[in-house]
Symmetry: C2
């Protein structure tokens, strides 16, 4: 699968005046495709529409989004599909135009290769890089991701792939490209996303799945000490699904039954 | 003066995989040009290089930046010149490539017209929209500006052009597209830029000019009450220079001698 991109259904060129580039004025979704089908597409489009609503970006029609996504999704094999929706081209300055015409950018990328050895678990360290807090942006998968880039720069220097991100006030928020969960017996806990962080599609699926598995889901304020006391730790995103964490800083975790059951239900990994 | 843009010195098309678009992974400068000359160009390029250093983006050569800027600067009249430097095209994911090739985007836009009536002063209200705090990003003119966009959306609804931005912890940071200064006698005060905000080129020039004018410059923590007690209030940016504030919320200010002297020294407005 080669990389392929379209902008508003046409050639892969973005106008340099696009507000997505100028100000991070837009949103994105990263999705898993298998043999032409996007996993959890309804949830991705629902989150995208909700995000546009919060930013007062006109929501492209569902038909249009699905058409442009389908056009970039390879009919065979696995691929990662990304969609970006920006507020479109603007005149100079932060002020949004009166009548914005959103830009829709869709691309496919090869599936991550080699597939991370999920069964062995993700090795994770707490990042020095912190996330600023702003309730107005919390939960949104917006384009302003410089903090995540800096966290990945830090991890690269430390020879790690995934890190634990804290907010500037010291609360646990997420992993760098995943949400994070800790289980205590049958209680499945994840940080609240009310001051920063992304409300992940797989995070939502995990929270919704708990009831079906006789588990109790909780969103709450958590700090690192809470994670270190957990029976199991796992991370989630829409591409890699549910993956156990084998180590956070100096604490080692096994792959437990809660992680296994959620991974079995929500597809992907944990067993292979 | 028509809008005109170049990307890496060539056609005005940005690759949809550019990390500036994907993650706000880049920086920008907005500059004033008159008859082909950029005001304060050395300071803009110095800040741009410092920003690249902090983000570990390779700094394009000074010669290259000046060449691309010159190519987009109209030889006659006034224009606003913008340069964006991003970390360039990336593979999927937040992690920066090992060997990034920065993208340089330069554009010119017509001078704001009608020229805001600066002599009458800027009318400003305190925004509900707040700025998140993150010392790692403070001072940088990076591309992640969604908070400023939301502030401008708020101001638009309220029928105002410029707002006062506070941090989530309640400190004064800046105006929406300007830095802010308050004078108390011969003391010229501006908020510290250590947790959020942009270290403006005109802000630097004002601070440096104070010594020459027998004024005392101070960077400190300020709250709205401090501004309301000020003798004079003014805002600064590289395009519009020094402009008096005539009103903040319900408090009215005159155009005083400190603002007039700084405006006279640093060019632009206050008198016309």
């Amino acid at each position: 699968v080669q990389s392929a991109w379209s902008v508003n259904g046409g050639a892969a060129a973005v106008d340099p005046r696009d507000r997505g580039l100028a100000y991070g004025d837009g949103l994105f979704e990263t999705m898993a495709a298998t043999d032409g089908a996007i996993r959890w597409l309804d949830y991705h489009l629902e989150r995208l529409a909700a995000g546009c609503g919060r930013l007062a970006i006109p929501v492209p029609t569902d038909v249009e989004l699905r058409r442009q996504i389908a056009a970039q999704t390879p009919p065979r094999g696995r691929a990662v599909i990304k969609i970006i929706v920006t507020r479109g081209i603007g005149t100079r300055g932060y002020r949004p135009p009166d009548d914005p015409a959103p830009t829709i950018i869709v691309g496919s990328a090869p599936w991550p290769s080699p597939d991370p050895p999920s069964a062995h678990g993700v090795v994770m360290a707490t990042c020095e890089t912190r996330l600023g807090e702003n309730p107005q942006l919390a939960g949104l998968k917006h384009l302003c991701r410089l903090e995540h880039v800096l966290a990945q720069l830090e991890l690269k220097q430390r020879g790690l792939d995934e890190g634990l991100l804290l907010s500037t006030s010291g609360h646990v928020v997420s992993a760098t490209s995943n949400n994070v969960f800790a289980s205590f017996g049958s209680r499945v806990c994840t940080p609240r996303i009310d001051r920063c962080g992304v409300r992940g599609v797989m995070r939502r699926l995990v929270l919704e799945s708990c009831a079906h598995l006789g588990l109790e889901a909780q969103e709450l304020d958590m700090d690192v000490a809470d994670l270190l006391r957990a029976d199991e730790l796992f991370v989630t995103n829409a591409v890699m699904g549910v993956r156990p964490v084998s180590r956070l800083d100096d604490t080692v975790y096994g792959v437990g039954p809660v992680t296994r059951r959620l991974a079995a239900r929500l597809g992907t990994v944990a067993g292979d």
